[in-house]
Amino acid sequence: MARYSGLRILGEGFRGNSGWQPAWRKPAPKASYDVVVIGGGGHGLATAFYLAEVHGIRNVAVLERGLIGQGNTGRNTTIVRSNYMLPENNNFYEHSLKLWEGLEQSLGYNVMMSQRGVINLFHNDAQRNAALRRGNSMRLNGIDAEIIDREGVKAMCPIVDLDNGRYPVMGGLLQRRGGTARHDAVAWGFAHAADARGVDIIEHCEVTGMIAEGGAIQGVRTSRGEIRAPKVGLAVAGHTSTLTEMAGFRVPIETHLLQAFVSEGLKPLIDCVVTFGAGHFYVSQSDKGGLVFGGGLDGYPSYGQRGTLPEAEHVYAAGVSMIPALGRLRGLRSWAGVMDMTPDGSFYICKTPVQGLYMTAGWCYGGFKATPGSGWCHAWTIAKDEPHRLNAAHTLDRFREGRMLDERGNGPFFWAQ
């Protein structure tokens, strides 16, 4: 398949754009593969890409129940960052961020990774202290972080109301290398690049059962027949429990709703990602001009992919409280994704109780930024049958061992993470 480039666009433009080929093939499933990855979202496609690219494992199928990139990959607020406190997390996310930084070049696909800076506002001493602890942890792990004062916030996002009547802004924790990416392009780019390396991406292929013998995986049953593989990776965030139930075990996951919103298109207004510290709200502006924003969970388990009004009201209210100019703009569309919520807010990339079955799951509502890192670590774990040091702590067993990775200390409550 020919590579994408400006030159190619130029040539195709003169030929009426008639020479473009599918961005990825639509192959029929083979009877067996070396590795089957379940889930054609960003994480599954990235897993397949890195299996081929890093580990030379190219006889790989990605099985997707519907269309690639239509789950949480296509329903998030597109934020990319590595501003975590616990070293187990920030080192992983930093690895992911570094992959993001070279993703266009390694995929040959423009995912519009835009390092426009991510600011977490804080409004009181306790929040500032927590921001310092987190930012210093980042710095000591070699990750960029800055603490900025009110003037710094004003300089980066002049329309933030520093003196908002209830919780004046004290300052912010800034990660300049954080930013946003074009979510759909991430799925398509990984699909394009994985396909070019021989991976079969099989859409409309629903896994209906696991084939295991003697505690070891042998393959999967699908709506398009049995597919054998000695190794199977799960990358189906939001639906992990459904798949692990087929494999015969339960996981520490509860599925919750998260809404996201987009405004009408506007000329450039917000040049960075800003999160409110006094309520759950974050906003950035897409390259197309829409403000992309969101808040917290709706608060109860759901696979419904549709949100409810009270949380939306809170999100909009927090938005106006942070940026009063937003009141005059209009919300265009809202949607919801279903999240694997974990009891410590951190993810799983690990082996499972079934030999040869691996998973990347439990992404709560931070999965998008993890896409390349998750695929990279998941691929490593599958290829080597052991975790990389970056995901060694992110096991299902950590709760049995009492080694939780609870960034904010919210406790063993799925809905509070």
Partner: protein
Amino acid sequence: MTQPHRLATGGHVDRATRLSFSFDGRRYEGHAGDTLASALLANGVRLVGRSFKYHRPRGIFSAGVEEPNALVELREGARREPNTRATVAELFDGLSATSQNRRGSLAFDWMAVNGLLSPWLGAGFYYKTFMWPAAFWERVYEPMIRKAAGLGRASRLPDPDHYDAAHAHCDVLVVGAGAAGLAAARAAGATGARVILMEQDFMLGGDLLNEPGLEAWRRETVAALAAMPEVTLMPRSTVFGFYDQGVLGAVERLADHLAEPPPHTPRQRYWTIRAKEVVLATGAHERLIAFPGNDRPGVMLAGAARTYARRYGVRAGETAALFATHDGAYDAAFAIAEAGARIAAIIDPRSDSAAMQRAREAGFSVKAGSVVSGTMGGNALRGIAIGAQGSGARGDAVPVDLLMVAGGWNPAVHLASMSGAALAWDEALHTFVPGTPVQRERSAGACRGVNGIGAAAADGAAAGRDAAIAAGFAAGPDNTLPDTLAADHCSYPVWEVKGRGKAFVDLQDDVTTNDIRLAHREGFSHIEHAKRYTTHAMGTDQGKTGGIVGAAVLAEARGEPVAKVGLPRFRPYTAPIAWGAMAGQEVGKHFQPVRRTSLHAVHDAAGAVWMDAGIWKRPAYYPKREDADAWASVLREARAVRQRVGICDVSTLGKIAVEGPDAATFLDRVYANTFSTLPVGRARYGLMLREDGIVFDDGTTSRIGPERFFVTTTTAQAGPVMQHLEFHLASAWPDLDVSLASVTDQWAAVAIAGPKAREVVAGMVEGIDLSNDAFPFMAVADCIAAGVPARLFRISFSGELAYEVAMPAGHAAHVWRAAMQVGATHGIEPYGMEALGLLRIEKGHVAGSELNGQTTAHDLGLGRMLKKKGDFIGRVLAQRPGMTDPSRPRLVGLRSVDPRRQIRAGAHLLVDGRDQGWITSATQSVVDPGWIGLGMLREGEARIGSTILAANPLMGEEVPVRVVSPHGYDPENRLVRA
């Protein structure tokens, strides 16, 4: 100022009321009843905007919410609203609007050069380039794309208006007040049901407003509805979403038709509506046809041209053509002809029909079997080409300045779809209609494909009656319905006319038929993928006119029926809604409630500087004139406590009355330490764990009677602890006979601390022997304080001899003043949160920054508190290896080696360059001046006495600190027991 295209008579505008307005700085005049669009057309303004990508000139395309082109920046200054649809913006005197998305003038936008580059700017071109060099994306490519993209400009100023929120309940909600909706509301209202009729337009009637012959019925029906006491008519109200369990959201525009809201009037009101039954009568949007040049100013939906003529008395063109695909469209030709325009041609791909014959009889030139194959003109339409259907030839040119396009009708199925109903393909209408309802809703009229006013009204009346019956009412009397000639609205499916030139399926985002085909060629063949790849139907109009046309073009490329291709999922909102309306009133200083203690006014009078503690306001410190800075105040207050006596408001602590025969058993299970052994009249420090063994909260709990306990919690965890107790009582131990009541608000409390505390308390409390033997450390007793009933605790957070006096909240100010009066001779000073924090850090007491949800009792040096026998929450999981790992960070005290060098909470603790912990709390000390803190440090106990580094790279600080015991002040507790 002459409105050359305004008819002398007819329609629903008030010609006696002249309204002045401006567009792009030029002044015009319109009438009450106009929209901005109708007034612009009356003045002959055809060019109103520029498209998103190619910056092509665009005119007014529709007469409603579906408008893709005529978006303007409405108003000026802080009230500027970008992307306002001129077609629904009500005209008011002094209205000012500006065209958007242009560089240069509207007539000459130099960004239109993009149109010439369109072969290279097709769908998804940006995914394939701008990758090298990597650093250029943020610096060069993206800023360029961003500036070119977007539509209108936000004001960047705070929105000066305010918004309201309200709730409504009804038996039947009718959405849409066209013929179907009015008939539905009347039929439902006639049963006595409580009915709400919401209509997004400012006039009720929908298509009836275009039918002078039915005006009498419309007026009579509206009047009848207005007279029904249980019927509420709500024009200017957009139902934006249909949510679970019969809940719908709506926004009512109260003042958008005015220059600005009158004083004390909200601009808009956000409604949450709970309806037993819903009738959706949302009508239909007319469909565009994708022929080359279908976007020139002067190309307009046929129904819109008819509406401008009949409702607004405006002739949208002088020489018009109609591109019709069904008989229902022909009335547009008659309407525009009646308005004085010349009909140059009627183009219809069909061979013959009743309407075509009527048109011929009226003298119109009807071109059967023909299609519009192209358009001519620059900033305005000058002519069209008419080719034979299916020939691909461009055909003859006909000069026109208005082309009316009638591609058929798209039922407005948005709300039905959002309610969960699947969509079904209607083969006769070539469109999707609502399938079987999932919720208690039904569609009526054009939104389910029942076209024609008479048929829609009949359908609506039946739906309204059925809905009321389903809501439990008996059918009421029938009403007369309009009797109209039914026209055939079954369109001949012409989705696209192929030819040279761009044919748009999405006018706003400049998505062409070729873009859709390119997406298919590149494998984006599913409608959801094609939508995302091309941005089709992702504009502010969400594809209301062209969405299905794009699906049809995709269907043809795939070689499959449109029904199989389907439409992308409908999601809220049916139309864009104001951010401020969704936000409502809980913004700015009302974002969250303010919680004040009953001593708030006392602190205010004492000049307190306030700080936020959750939603509470608490005094941080009380500055005095002689204090050089905030620290001076804090140190002064802390010194008063250490040397004399201080008083502090501790009312925010959570207080829970735990009572009943099993109260002691219950507390033994929820606390890690034992309470059943606590004697009446004594308090005990308690440690509460979460079930995962992490420390949840701490506080003192007192035994007031054999079956009565008074539990206190930290301020932050008052709510969570209450819920935790209630949950476990309900779920784990329902057999225990215990009652729980939060009494946080009932009891106010003050701490009186310092060497002179006993003297102060003695001077105001009656009924208690305060001698150390009679009322020792941890004693509790009811008493009279300053003449009011109170409860006295001998407990200490500061490490000094201290008491807490709790009293009914209403008496707190009185007790505080009495203490200040008695204490005056002892030098009493009020102290705030900052001094409180300083004192507890000196003493080594943990607080929120140590009890942060990540620490175990062992980590905090409180491991010995965990009882060895008996069940309690957190006992089992606290034993997991990771929880008892000796390498976990432990609580230590820290002291800056150089007393002048500040250490900060949030700094990390480096040992030989390795990150071994962090500082949780820091302050200046009054006992031993210098900077001290508490921290969590690996191998903390073993490192006591060593010097390590407090690193704060964020602020460029590295401060040597000595590790000390956290309990630096009076470790033997002599003072508190004195």
